[in-house]
Symmetry: C2
Subunit: 97 residues, 2 copies
């Protein structure tokens, strides 16, 4: 699980998606696509973004809720706090698989 977190953060496009969700929660897949294109000049396909969102979801950084034919994505920054506790505070290290 913690492994998924760092893998998720390793891709620059995924980090931009986190930025977009930080600014506006509850975006759909196409909204994320559009904002990546217009605000960052990224030509990312729908499938690519879909897979990125799946990775972010597996990492616990994004929660998704279905409403009709739409799927809205919300940001959850709580997993990031694990990073802080691991190295930024005088705390015992955690284990990674």
């Amino acid at each position: 699980m913690e492994e998924d977190l760092f893998k998720a953060l390793a891709d620059p496009t995924r980090r931009l998606i986190l930025d977009e969700l930080t600014e506006r929660d509850g975006q759909s897949l196409f909204e994320v696509c559009a904002r990546l294109a217009t605000r960052h000049g990224l030509a990312v396909s729908r499938q690519a973004v879909s897979q990125h969102l799946a990775v972010l979801e597996a990492a616990g950084l994004v929660t998704a809720r279905r409403e009709g034919r739409y799927k809205f994505h919300d940001l959850d920054t709580r997993p990031l706090e694990h990073i802080v506790r691991r190295w930024l505070t005088p705390a015992p290290p955690e284990d990674t698989p």
Copy 2:
């Protein structure tokens, strides 16, 4: 540069190295190897650890100083604070002062 930071954190062995340096700063390459083996049961070759340390150094997470034939590695967690400020600081409304 920020790209290097996330790449460096993406590998579990490198995160363990950070853990070891958190516990004891100024370790040499062979010391890191030994501690990874004895404390985490990892059979990592010297060259592998050497490359990991180079990646951590490129990310700014580790600074190295040469003394004779030894090279000691020190941890620098400051780049990590940069990560946290990106998504964690515009935090959800919390009443705790």
